[in-house]
Amino acid sequence: MSNLVEGATGSWEVVIGLEIHAQVSSQSKLFSGAATAFGAEPNSQVSLVDAGMPGMLPVINEMAIEQAVRSGLGLNAKINNYSVFDRKNYFYADLPQGYQISQYLQPIVGEGVVTVELEDGATAHIGIERLHLEQDAGKLIHDQHPRKSHVDLNRSGIALMEIVSKPDMRSAAEAGAYVRKVRAILRYLGTCDGNMEQGSMRADVNVSVRRPGEDLGTRAEIKNVNSIRFMQQAIHYETTRQIDVIEGGGTVDQETRQFDAPTGTTRPMRTKEEAHDYRYFPDPDLLPLEFSDDFVAQIRATLPELPDAKKRRYMDELGLSAHDAAVLVSDRDIALFYEAVSEGRDAKIVANWVQGDLFGQLAKAELDIADSPVSANQLGGLIDLISDQTISGKIAKDVLEIMFESGQDAAAIVAEKGLKQVTDSGAIEGEVDKVIAANPDKVAEFQSGKDKILGWFVGQIMQATKGKANPKMVNQLLRDKLKG
């Protein structure tokens, strides 16, 4: 598939690299014991260290190191047993120390690779340049006072992993697939909740364009994009903008830009009067971060089955199609749900129910699978009722809808509403005889070779039995009698 974009003067290739900032799932901050819960009262989760008080010193949170290593392993990346924390120096009111502690020349995780799947089933390998740990800054609040800004330091010092990709993506679709895949991996690992709305994951998007085969063009960096849809809009806008600039005889400026969601456009961030010189140097308050191969091995031993491996297993062992497997492993919660339901049941039937009717209901209600009103157990119960022929698949769809509304178990609904399937062949036979007797013309059509009319007969009988007749038995009886 070609990803080229047509401009007025020919084809262009867009080149995308991403810096994903993922908040480390951890009870406490990167260098202090303060809490990290989302939505707390302003400045209620701030330690003396986070506030940059005189004489306060950072102490690394071991949990954050483990999480970074875990993430690195999940991204198939090189783990650096020796890494260094640096200070990135700049002044801003949300940065109490006057510097951000980050990792510059020697990050904790080096090169890796993530395999993404595109809509058309093709796969792309996106390189990871590095993953490093750094502190988040606080937040400025501008709407509390006519002249002054307020500072909330709850986020100050929260541990972030910055995951830097290589400039390996060639379309907004690829970039979207990459972010989804990285988010899925981190969620499987439990190292980041991936919640973009709450800011626990956001991305800086580097976009440039070039003629196919030529060297990389000048890139613009779109800062702090907090949804995949926005990111894709920004890439589309930026691609067109840059092509227009170049085709109009101009040059693209290397600059940071801001995405404006209401208009779907990007614009230059307020130009700083001077170029930033961050004066990185190793933080003398922290020793270099060193750990043993054993430490890494111990973490590796606790890694869960990750999406790629899980997908292979679903295909090889459970016989699912590539598409079904991909959908079910795309999110850890979905996979866990699916596995809970399919335990001891027909894997394919369960796959159909989960990604068919259940997803349909969830989408309608705008719910995530974690918030599904129908639990895995309950869905399993419903499928069991189909398997043991208590209800038909068609009735089951209605039952699921009621389950979704009421939260009741399938069996209770079936009993309460009298939906139990009619498997008494005598009763069904009676209905079949009635329909045949009433429609001699249709019978003649069937007997003249028009097989398809059988479906009409089935429909009549299902209507008469309010859908409760066992469809298999209806079919069988009809065939026998009509042929007679």
Partner: protein
């Protein structure tokens, strides 16, 4: 009994233990002496009532049978140590009104050991200076004066207030910090004993940072034994400081055996400076003689990269300082000078809050870390630093300790070097290498200059071998028999 303010810590400890005096009596005597010495400007904050309350609490603890290693001993605290609920200034206007809600680990350790706080001592602003002239609260006067001369002299710096409080006999000991010599040089200038222990021996938590990789707390006292006692109470592993060393804390006082027979003492040829007063060279030779007589073997050694230490120091220390001082921005605490916008508020606050020397070092530090200069300055300085540390490691293969002068001169008059930063920086030439290498060093008063001013000798030791450092220092102290003391000219004749 001698005047209470003439007692050393060890003597007072014994008298307190025997019940021959109370901490309240001892503390009251020092509180009174401190008030009388106010003209020396050694204190930023005097805490007479706080001290007496602490003394009473100490006496009560003693009565109930619990005593710490410094039980009832009145001490002064350098104003770089954050003290809970008590103004902490770092000698700077920018910390205007700053009262920390926390106590530094080192001072907390002292209170845990039963010590009493007399007040906070004056110092060069953010510990940047060698004469105490950069303090926002004005210079500290050295208790010592030249013979037959009333001209005021600097006490050295940056811990000039601490050294003066101890030399002037209104504190039995004082905490200090040493980034390039700020304990040892003022100790040498005031005839006191000042020790900078191994980097990592004392926690830096709650100590206002100057240059994090060099800063180390230590005690100033009137003799070596007191110094060993006080360091023992200050030191110890602190998980709140990632650079604090998790190593056993020896009984430093027990190391004072007086026996240095068979020890090898290195004498580095690079510590002879052009233009150094002859009397310092003479004193050094005397020290060598004392150690030899005590049974040590003197070994000529070379520390070849010594001459690069001072320039490397004046790159590394300002670099770290430029970053450490970024937090003084007027946003959360201390001084704020309003401006039209955030940037202007920063500029106004920092221009008004920092003195000339601090501004100079922030500028130097910012420069050496800047893109295009980092490799030529900061990176090169770090390489030199490693070479200097290697020099020491090499010589400590063969020697147990090193003997050098503490400073290249005796105390000098105010203003002498205030306009010449390079001349001022040269004060640290003998002390800086130990900071760059993270090694322990101590200055012991060893004699008087021709003008009657104290001169010190410095003993350096391998990392975490303060015991050898103290043992050798004790021998130098005994041989030097330094009994001179400054006239207490500031006291009204009684």
């Amino acid at each position: 009994m001698a005047a209470l303010t003439d007692l050393g810590i060890a003597q007072a400890r014994d008298l307190l233990a025997k019940g021959e005096m109370s901490s309240r009596e001892l503390t009251a005597a020092h509180v009174e002496a401190m008030a009388e010495a106010s003209i020396l400007n050694a204190m930023v904050t005097e805490l007479p009532e706080h001290a007496l309350t602490m003394a009473d609490a100490s006496d009560a603890r003693r009565a109930s049978g619990t005593t710490g290693s410094l039980e009832g001993i009145p001490l002064a605290i350098k104003d770089l140590f954050c003290t809970k609920g008590i103004l902490t200034t770092a000698g700077s206007h920018i910390l205007d009104g700053f009262t920390p809600p926390y106590e530094s680990t080192v001072s907390a350790n002292l209170w845990q050991a039963g010590a009493v706080m007399l007040g906070k001592t004056n110092m060069d602003e953010f510990a940047m200076g060698s004469s105490n002239e950069t303090s926002y609260f004005g210079p500290v006067q050295n208790p010592w004066r030249r013979e037959g001369d009333n001209q005021a002299l600097v006490p050295g710096g940056s811990s000039g207030g601490s050294a003066t409080a101890v030399a002037g006999r209104f504190a039995m000991g004082a905490t200090a910090t040493d980034t390039g010599g700020s304990i040892r040089q003022p100790a040498a200038f005031t005839g006191t004993v000042g020790c900078k222990p191994t980097y990592g021996r004392c926690s830096r938590w709650g100590v206002v940072a100057f240059a994090s990789s060099l800063d180390q707390a230590g005690p100033i006292t009137r003799d070596v034994r007191d110094n060993a006692i006080m360091l023992g109470a200050m030191a110890g592993y602190d998980p709140k400081d990632s650079t604090s060393a998790d190593v056993p804390l020896p009984d430093f006082e027990a190391a004072l055996s007086g026996d240095i027979r068979g020890l090898k003492i290195g004498v580095p040829k690079e510590y002879v400076l052009d233009g150094m007063p002859g009397e310092i060279e003479v004193l050094w030779q005397q020290g060598i003689g004392w150690l030899r007589e005590a049974g040590a073997e003197i070994v000529d050694i070379s520390l070849p990269h010594t001459k690069y230490a001072l320039p490397a120091y004046y790159i590394v220390a300002p670099a770290e300082a430029s970053s450490n001082l970024a937090r003084y921005d007027g946003v959360r605490f201390g001084l704020r000078e309003e401006g039209a916008d955030l940037t202007e508020m920063y500029e106004n606050t920092r221009a008004a809050g920092f003195g000339a020397e601090v501004r100079r070092r922030v500028l130097i530090g910012t420069y050496v870390l800047s893109a295009g200069y980092y490799d030529a300055y900061y990176l090169k300085a770090q390489k030199i630093r490693r070479l200097i540390a290697q020099d020491f490691r090499d010589v400590y293969e063969t020697v147990d300790a090193i003997l050098t002068p503490s400073a290249p001169s005796a105390a000098f008059p105010f203003g002498d070097k205030a306009d010449d930063p390079i001349a001022m920086y040269l004060n640290d030439v003998f002390t800086v290498p130990a900071n760059l290498a993270g090694l322990p060093g101590i200055s012991v008063p060893a004699g008087l200059s021709a003008e009657g001013l104290p001169l010190g000798l410095q003993i350096l030791a391998p990392a975490f071998d303060e015991e050898t450092m103290f043992r050798v220092a004790g021998v130098v102290e005994e041989a030097a028999n330094f009994t001179a003391r400054p006239e207490q000219w500031w006291k009204s004749p009684s």
